[in-house]
């Protein structure tokens, strides 16, 4: 009589299938039983009671996804709120300084590759600034300055080179 279980939705079978089969085994096959099981299956399809739990699972998955994103995000899981704020402020201040420098240099030297490179490097540069400040928070200030500064200079040189190549094409 286990074939009657196939009438039910997969999720329902997953949750109640085994115990339902155990109850079913204790019953004598009759038209009344088939009608009852069929009616139960129609109800399970039309009024899935597992929706609430399913929703909880989805919420759980979202929480898990959020947790994973937090862990994969710059700074890792041990990054305190204070460190995040500090890294965020550093990034915002860095972006403002870079924007101001770009405006001034653009006014003085117009659209030269060396100036344009500054605008192109701003986005990856700020990301680098945030991650380095977050990851290197336990290190000495000199290490942080050298690493962040070196990274920014390297980024600038790459974009400057790219801009020089681009204007010559």
């Amino acid at each position: 009589m286990k074939w009657l279980l196939q009438l039910y939705p997969a999720e329902w079978r997953c949750r109640y299938g085994e115990e339902f089969a155990a109850v079913l085994q204790g019953q004598r096959l009759s038209l009344g039983l088939v009608v009852d099981v069929f009616g139960g299956a129609v109800d399970a399809w039309l009024h899935p009671q597992l929706r609430g739990r399913e929703h909880e699972i989805t919420k759980g998955e979202q929480t898990m996804t959020n947790e994973m994103m937090k862990r994969c995000a710059a700074g890792g899981p041990k990054l305190s709120q204070r460190d995040q704020i500090l890294a965020g402020i550093t990034m915002a201040v860095g972006a403002l300084i870079l924007a101001a420098a770009y405006v001034v240099l653009r006014k003085l030297y117009h659209a030269r590759p060396a100036v344009e490179a500054l605008s192109y490097m701003s986005m990856p540069g700020m990301f680098l600034l945030y991650t380095k400040v977050a990851y290197l928070r336990q290190h000495k200030v000199s290490t942080q300055v050298i690493t962040v500064g070196g990274g920014m200079v390297l980024l600038y040189l790459i974009f400057w080179g790219a801009c020089e190549v681009a204007v010559r094409l």
Binding site: E19, A22, V23, D36, G39, A44, R53
Partner: protein
């Protein structure tokens, strides 16, 4: 009839309202698995619930937190009444008792 919140819980069950009430009454004695509930209900109410009806009611009761599954290594999962389920059962039985008393009083004067 004055309806309490707990009483309303069972009102939403439609055709599963009566089987759900019988399950709650059965579980008021202690945790039981599906087959034991069927046997117990057959004894106390003279009604043998089919598995489709039984699990339609169990799913509703569980989703509303009126009963909860207990851990078991056996594939026959036992269920227990929750605090909310107990309050819902009390509310429903009180409401039924009020109706029964009113009916009996009126029959006495008939």
């Amino acid at each position: 009839m004055k309806k309490t919140k707990n009483n309303d819980e069972l009102d939403d069950f439609g055709r599963f309202s009566e089987p759900a009430l019988l399950i709650l009454i059965s579980l008021a004695e202690g945790p039981k698995h599906g087959y034991s509930m069927t046997e117990d209900i057959a004894t106390i109410a003279g009604v043998r619930l089919g598995p489709g009806t039984l699990y339609g009611a169990i799913a509703r009761l569980e989703s509303r937190g009126l009963i909860e599954p207990l851990k078991s290594e056996d594939r026959r999962n036992p269920y227990a009444l929750t605090g909310l389920g107990e309050r819902a059962l009390r509310a429903r039985l009180d409401a039924m008792q009020t109706v029964v008393r009113a009916g009996q009083r009126r029959l006495a004067h008939a």
